[in-house]
Amino acid sequence: MTESIPTRRRARYLLWLAAAIVLCGGPLRIDAQHARRPSRIGVLNAAWAASHPTVEGLKAGLKDLGLEEGRDVVFDIRFTEGKLAAMPAAAEALVKSGVDVIFTSQEAATQAAKQATNAIPIVFTLVGDPIGAGIVSTLARPDANVTGVSSLQTELVAKRLEVLTTLAPGARRVWIVYYGNDLSTTPLIHKALDVARGMKLDVVPKAVLDADALRAALREVRRGDVVLAPDGSNPDLAIAIIERSLALRIPAVFGTALWVGYGGLMSYGPDYYAQGVQAAALVAKILRGARPQDVPIEGAEKIDLAVNLKTAELLGLTVPRKILLRADAFRR
């Protein structure tokens, strides 16, 4: 039984090979952790500063959802300081900079973003009527790359009329002065006309196209009338209505508490900050890979009633308990 030398050598060689394979077993385990770069969120609005309440809300909301600024998300905020004409260029610039999602506020920014891209997902806020404004054709399954939080302008018109007439019970004629080129106002007008019939109110819609026409239209508003201001991108309207309202002591209701702060009598509508927080959930979903088409448009969850008691006093109105009880904010 003599063992040949080559055979023994071969066996030894095989042993070493086996040992080497066992020792190098490490490479079989694949390290699944790879560094992830922060997602880039583009923000587009007509605000005067980067700290628009919706943006602040968005940041807070994302943080609540575990997305830390700097680590998980970074923001590219473009605000046009009230210039709507600058919007398309700003949207183009955002798209070029290669953001992962665009967060917009109000119709103009949303439309501009939609014009600029059909690939990058867009999450909007402060859009009164996404269908009426022609941004989407259905809420549950939005078209293409757009979803967001609707500020329920059309839905809330009845409630606005109600709170307005609760505060000014004598009012019979309601003026709705709006910018004629704002498509989303049309459903609002229809709803208002519809609701007003039951409330025995006379609704006078007045479309204006520029500041002159706006002034002219407001000149027709008389004492005893009330005004409902649609929530739009252009602040001129609200400011002109506040001026007229204060000058002639005409009650007016606004879509957002912002104008109550500027002397508007009252507002009934969603909170800007809360809409930002709400939209953060949608942004997070999209960043986690959901397609905008699969993220339904939500109605604003937090709806506030704000009253300026000083203006009420100036207008000689007694704020009834119903309003006081319901109001979320007062300004004295």
Binding site: R29, L156, K159, A281, P296, L325
Partner: protein, 1409 residues
């Protein structure tokens, strides 16, 4: 083989047993380890998931419980509080009030809930009976007392039992889940409060559960409906989940759910795929929270241990395999050696011995085997020898049979070769040679062809190695001789058989020596004969003497016959083929020529044609390149035009240096004019062209040139090259000749075309120059003409003696005539240069025609000619076109007619024919005269420029002869034609047509004169005119208005009718009648009492100046030609008993009205550098009563306006320093439109476009030089004095500026005191109203209303002395009369402003008094 297999089996057996022992143990241990790892992992995962589910369930429970509690609490207090606070003071009688207060309180409570609980969207209160009494919503208006009956709704029923009721989940907006909560309310809990609760927080809770990447958590309600799911898509699908295994299992073990927490449920997940599911219950509601994780994802941690186990297992297995192989091998090796040895011996290798040194039983077995093998080996040898002998015998017999068979096979093979290769005989010969060599066992075999008296080898086999077999083959083809067998066989046509070359002396020593050298001894040569003609021979040789058997020779005979058949076949087929090729070639040639001529016909582009030619020629002639050269006769040089496949280098050289006459091929054929070819250009001295080197480099060897000849002229050459030496075939030469003639034709065509093009360009340049010259000349002539005409006009307005007046009039009329000539020439040049542009404006056709007639009516009347016109009813009243140009044509034809007619009539008729395009017409105008006529031979040249009928006519009648030429061109520009018919001595008729769109829709001031007119219908009229045309026209009009017409050409007859007592409402008489003139007839009619008061209308040619016309009272005097509008007015007025003002547009010269400045005060500045023109303008203005200021250039003009205001600036366009355009722009820039003076351009540039230039520069109006008084007056009338506040000193009071105080004062004294008040108020009222009326009229486009209002305002203003206002109103009136609204609004604004000023001035005057 058997032993081998069994040996392998043994080896395998050992290996398998060893493997099973080691590997089995390894595998069992790995599997056990894996199973336990799997169990542990699963338990851990399920435990985690369950913990998450429980946490979520408790959070949801807490949330919903809180909501329910809030609603419950609030509604309880809502019912209790008012009771507590109000039972005391309240009385039963206040029940209603109490109810209201309660409702109010409840609403407030609800509002509080809405504020506190944001997830509640709406709250309702249901009363005892289940009727909804109050609904408070976040989005909708609140509703009180809707009385909606919900008594049978589960919410009400359930809540009445005292329980909290949760409704099934429903979706709002297709994506937001809501649930209705119902709780008992009120003091006795018999009423119910319902709340709509948003489940968004529930969704949020489940969304926040972290279940790995692919895991999901969701909630189902008691009915197993999905309530909340992070993905709204799934939620929307609203799937009933009762079917899911995990749900069923959860429902089943619900009582013990808290017990077996580790029991994992592996089931199909919501989204498909296997999942690990755990759940927890939301106790009070019976809802379940599920936490699912895909199994694959869950077991991910197991993956590493599995891989590890598998690796160890595999390694172990590998080691055991190696070990078993080694061991088995050691045991099996000696056995195998033994087995192999036995196998070898068994297989017959009896010499083999087995070597085995194991020293055991195996070695003994080996030795035994070796012995047995040795014995076997000895007996084997004898057997083998016997077998060998027998085999040899068998082979002998076999060979004979094979030989016969082989011969037959060979014959068949040859036949097959014949049938396969029909055109090529070589394979047949090859088979024959091969078969002969093989079958006859020959030394060599060969087939020879005999053609054209020469013999040559076609195929050979065998013979000496390395050389072709035959001596014949070596020497190629030779003439056959008797010295060799093949030659003799051919010459004798007999078979030659040599049994032994050495002994057969009938063959020469030469052959025999050669045979010996080569090594053959016997030979046979069989001729291949067709009809006694030898086609070849088959020769076979053998190395040994003895000749060939008869069978062998017969076989060769057969081969020879078969070869003949093959040769014949091939010959016939190749003949056929040649014919086919020839045919194809001619078809191709025809096609190529077709292509070339098509290219020639389809394009004039020489390049295309020639490249088609060269490429087709090259292709067809089979040459290597083809080129075409053009011959320059002057330089005697050839230039390369185009080439096909010519090497680039050659092209470059050819393009660089042209080939001179006599040089190269092309050069040579320029001399010979015949095709020239060089078969080898490399041959010394054959070719010396400049291209020789490059051609050689390109590989070209032969060259040919064909001259391109056209009508005996050499115009170029076509050359071809090829890369092989040799002449070009006659066929190619013929073909290229054809192509050459095509090329010649193409080049000639192109040359002609080129010449034509340059001639046209020359003509265009000349034409441009002519136009420019004419424009300049026109300007240069007009400036002095201005002076001549203007000054002579002024001269005529001074006191002159008869003689002086006559001279001045001649100067004046000559000037006018000259101007006409210049205008004609200018027009003509414009048309010639294509610069004439026609306007397209709607205009009244009748007015346009009448205007032309008016201009010749005076001259016609002077010559005693009747002038008539008629427009057919079908003619559109208004058309779109250029009225000025239409008038120009008409005027030209009419003045010619008047000029060439001494007596008789001139009739203009207009008719129209609708065209296919809707609303467009072809209008035909005809001017017929009874003049001298035109001889037939002159008719053709009539419309040519500068042509009159003959020179004598020109002398007699004058004129440039351009008129008709211009008319013809204008007609053509308008889309029509002009023709003439004439008979010498009888007259001519010119007829022209034009195409125009009807402008019926356009607003044009005209009356509808068509159809029956109510005021005239049924009235009887007597009309007397000796001229038949006039009668016909008059009759047509009068009848069309519904009148009864009694028409006669004889005054006597008319008189007879009156005498006979016939009564007429009206009579229309012509003045000029042969028997009795109009006045005399009128007098005679008046004699009769019946007709004493009958209104009479008189047609004259000269108007009221008619002698004696005054002696009879006529209702109206009408001028000829008959104009329907005029006749209509006169007839209507006469029947209404009113005298008619007949608007006579007499062509008398415009009178200078010295009062104009009074009526129409203007401050005028004349900007003009030319002293003569300055004087002229100033004098003209002076005669109109204006005193104007003068500026010598634009700068001065601007400075003057700076100093003081002007109403009008007459602005010369061409001035030094600053021209009129620039000055106008400057003025427009400095002063606003309403404050700046009106600028009227004066320019001698009468070319089209000048007007536009002037207006573009800011000028308002335009008069052309020479200045015509009427044009100037019209321009001034169009200028209203600008309204402006007094600038500078302000000396004049507004009143004096606005009111003519003298006139005012006159009125005042005439009317007496107290008048002013009334006047003021009436005036202000009236003017305001009138201004309003005018505004409306402009808005409504009601021109009549505008005209009437303007007229009233004009007289009102004049009556108070507001002359400026009056003038402005008159301007508006004039504008309205002209039928235009252009600028009406601006004028009206000025009028309105002036009205206010007048009102102010009036009150000021009043205050002054």
């Amino acid at each position: 083989m058997k032993t081998n297999a069994s040996q392998g089996r043994l080896f395998r057996k050992y290996v398998v047993v060893l493997l099973l022992l080691v590997g089995g143990v390894l595998m069992v241990s790995s599997l056990v380890e894996l199973y336990f790892a799997y169990r542990e992992t699963q338990v851990a995962i399920v435990r985690v998931q369950r913990a998450k589910a429980v946490a979520a369930a408790s959070r949801i429970e807490q949330f919903l419980g809180e909501v329910a509690m809030q609603v419950r609490e609030t509604t309880r207090t809502a019912s209790d509080d008012p009771d507590a606070s109000q039972t005391g003071p309240a009385k039963v009688g206040f029940r209603q009030g109490l109810g209201a207060a309660l409702a109010e309180q409840r609403q407030l409570d609800f509002l509080r809930v809405l504020r506190n609980v944001p997830v509640i969207a709406a709250l309702s209160h249901l009363d005892l009976a289940g009727k909804e009494q109050l609904r408070v919503s976040r989005l909708e208006p609140d509703v009180v007392g809707s009385q909606r009956d919900l008594s049978s709704a589960p919410s009400f029923v359930q809540a009445r039992t005292g329980k909290t009721y949760w409704s099934p989940v429903y979706l709002k907006n297709e994506s937001e889940p809501y649930v209705t909560l119902a709780v008992p309310a009120g003091k006795y809990a018999v009423e119910v409060t319902t709340a709509e609760v948003s489940l968004a927080p529930v969704v949020k809770i489940v969304s926040q559960i972290d279940v790995g990447e692919a895991g999901v958590a969701y909630v189902v309600d008691t009915r197993n409906q999905l309530v909340a799911h992070p993905d709204s898509r799934v939620l929307r699908a609203h799937r009933d989940l009762s079917g899911l295994v995990q749900v069923q299992s959860a429902r089943a073990d619900r009582p013990a759910s808290s017990g077996d927490a580790t029991q994992a449920v592996v089931a199909e997940g919501l989204g498909g795929g296997r999942v690990l599911a755990a759940h927890a219950a939301i106790a009070p509601l019976g809802w379940l929270v599920f936490v699912e994780r895909p199994a694959a994802d869950a077991y991910a941690p197991l993956r590493a241990p599995i891989i590890r186990s598998v690796v160890i297992f595999v390694l172990g297995l590998a080691l055991s395999v190696l070990a078993s192989i080694f061991l088995a091998r050691r045991m099996v090796a000696p056995i195998r050696k033994l087995q192999e040895g036995a196998a070898l011996i068994g297989a017959g290798n009896l010499g083999h011995r087995i070597e085995l040194r194991t020293g055991d039983e195996l070695e003994a077995l080996g030795d035994e085997l070796n012995r047995t093998a040795a014995q076997l080996e000895a007996s084997h040898a004898t057997l083998e020898r016997k077998v060998e002998e027998r085999t040899r015998e068998l082979a002998q017999a076999n060979a004979e049979i094979t030989e016969a068979l082989d011969r037959q096979t060979a014959t068949a093979e040859i036949l097959r070769a014949i049938s396969q290769a029909q055109t090529d005989v070589q394979p047949v010969f090859d088979v024959i040679a091969e078969s002969a060599l093989r079958l006859l066992g020959a030394w060599s075999a060969a087939v020879f062809r005999y053609e054209h008296g020469l013999i040559g080898s076609a195929s050979a086999r065998g013979g000496l190695p390395g050389s072709s077999e035959s001596h014949i083959a070596e020497r190629q083809r030779i003439s056959p001789t008797h010295d060799y067998p093949p030659g003799r066989a051919i010459l004798t046509r007999r078979l030659q058989h040599i049994v032994d070359v050495d002994t057969d002396t009938s063959w020469g020593e030469l052959f025999r020596t050669e045979a010996r050298q080569r090594g053959f001894r016997s030979v046979v040569a069989v001729p291949m004969l067709r009809d006694h003609e030898a086609l070849g021979v088959i020769g076979v040789t053998r190395g040994e003497p003895g000749g060939f058997t008869p069978a062998e020779i017969a076989l060769l005979q057969t081969f020879a016959d078969q070869a003949v058949i093959a040769v014949e076949n091939a010959r016939l087929l190749s003949e056929l083929h040649a014919r086919t090729v020839q045919l194809t070639r001619s078809v191709e040639e025809l096609k190529a020529l077709g292509d070339v001529s098509q290219a020639l016909n389809s394009t004039l582009d020489l390049e295309t044609v020639l490249s088609t030619i060269v490429s087709r020629a090259n292709q067809l002639a089979g040459t290597d390149s083809c080129s075409i050269y053009e011959y320059d006769e002057q330089a005697e040089e050839f230039h390369l035009l185009t080439s096909d496949k010519l090497a680039e280098e050659v092209v470059a050289v050819a393009r660089r240096s042209p080939i001179r006459r006599g040089e190269g091929v092309a050069g040579r054929m320029a001399v010979t004019r015949e095709p020239v070819q060089i078969a080898d250009i490399a041959a010394p001295g054959a070719y010396q062209g400049p291209l020789r080197d490059v051609l050689l480099r390109a590989g070209t060897r032969a060259l040919m040139g064909i001259p391109l000849l056209r009508e005996g002229h050499l115009i170029g050459g076509l050359t071809v090259t090829k890369k092989t030496r040799g002449e070009f075939s006659a066929e190619v030469v013929g073909l290229l000749r054809t192509f050459a003639s095509q090329s010649a034709l193409a080049i000639q065509n192109a040359r002609l075309f080129r010449d034509l093009g340059s001639a046209r360009r020359d003509a265009e340049v000349a034409n441009e120059a002519k136009s420019a010259f004419l424009a300049t000349m026109s300007h240069e002539i007009r400036t002095p003409m201005n002076a001549v005409i203007g000054m002579s006009s002024l001269l005529l307005n001074t006191d002159l003696t008869e003689e002086q007046r006559e001279y001045a009039e001649i100067v004046r009329s000559s000037g006018d005539a000259l101007l006409t000539v210049i205008n004609d020439v200018l027009d003509f040049s414009k048309i010639e240069a294509g610069r004439m542009e026609l306007e397209a404006q709607p205009f009244d056709l009748r007015e346009g025609v009448e205007a032309a007639l008016d201009l010749v009516s005076a001259r016609a009347a002077e010559k005693g000619l009747d002038l008539a016109y008629q427009i057919a009813d079908t003619t559109p009243a208004a058309i779109v076109g250029d009225v000025a140009r239409l008038r120009q044509i008409l005027l030209n034809l009419l003045s010619n007619a008047v000029k060439f007619t001494e007596q008789g009539e001139i009739v203009l008729t207009v008719s129209a024919r609708p065209l296919e395009t809707h609303g467009t017409y072809e209008l035909t105008f005809s001017v017929r005269d009874t003049g001298i006529g035109i001889p037939p031979d002159r008719l053709g040249r009539l419309f040519e420029s500068f042509s009159q009928v003959d020179v004598s006519t020109a002398r007699r009648y004058g004129g440039t002869g351009l008129g008709l030429a211009i008319s013809k061109r204008l007609t053509e520009l308008m889309g029509g034609t002009i023709t003439v018919d004439s008979r010498v001595g009888h007259g001519s008729e010119f007829r022209f047509t034009l195409r125009a769109a009807s402008a019926e829709g356009a607003v044009l001031p005209r009356r509808e004169l068509r159809g029956a007119q109510p005021s005239l219908e049924g009235r009887t009229v007597l009309a007397v005119d000796d001229n038949e045309t006039n009668r016909r026209i008059l009759d047509a009009y009068l009848r069309s208005w519904g009148m009864t017409v009694h028409m006669t050409g004889s005054p006597r007859e008319a008189l007879a009718w009156v005498e006979a007592g016939q009564s007429f409402d009206l009579a229309i008489l012509d003045m000029h009648m042969p028997e009795l003139d109009g006045v005399a007839l009128a007098r005679a009619i008046r004699e009769h009492p019946r007709a004493a008061t009958m209104p009479l209308l008189l047609f004259t040619s000269l108007g009221r100046r008619e002698v004696g016309a005054d002696s009879v009272r006529f209702a109206a005097h009408l001028t000829k030609p008959i104009k329907p509008s005029q006749v209509f007015d006169a007839v209507v007025a006469a029947l209404a008993g009113q005298p008619t003002r007949v608007d006579r547009r007499a062509p008398a010269p415009v009178e200078l009205d010295p009062e104009m400045a009074v009526r129409h005060p203007l401050r005028i500045l004349v900007a003009e550098d030319n002293i003569v023109n300055q004087k002229l303008a100033l004098r003209l203005l002076e005669q109109l009563g204006y005193r104007a200021d003068v500026a010598a250039n634009g700068l001065e003009a601007v400075a003057a306006i700076e100093r003081q205001p002007y109403d009008v600036v007459l602005m010369d366009v061409q001035m030094p320093e600053m021209d009129g355009f620039e000055a106008s722009r400057e003025i427009s820039r400095r002063w606003p439109d309403e404050a700046r003076p009106r600028i009227v351009a004066m320019t001698a540039n009468a070319m089209q476009g000048d007007r536009e230039l002037c207006l573009a520069a800011g000028m308002d109006d335009y008069v052309s030089k020479p200045i015509r008084v009427d044009e100037l007056v019209a321009a001034l009338q169009r200028s209203a004095p600008a309204i402006r506040a007094p600038r500078g000193d302000g000396a004049a009071s507004p009143a004096t500026d606005v009111l003519d105080l003298d006139a005012f004062e006159r009125l005042r004294t005439a009317m007496g005191a107290g008048f002013l008040d009334e006047l003021l108020s009436t005036f202000v009222e009236d003017t305001q109203e009138l201004v309003g009326t005018m505004r409306r009229a402009i808005g409504d486009k009601d021109i009549d209303a505008l005209r009437r209002a303007a007229h009233s305002l004009k007289s009102n203003a004049a009556s108070v002395g507001a002359m400026m206002l009056s003038g402005m109103a008159r301007d508006l009136e004039t504008l309205a009369k002209s039928g235009s609204f252009e600028g009406a609004r601006a004028r009206l604004d000025r009028v309105a402003a002036e009205c206010e000023r007048v009102a102010r001035a009036l009150s000021e005057v009043e205050r002054g008094h």
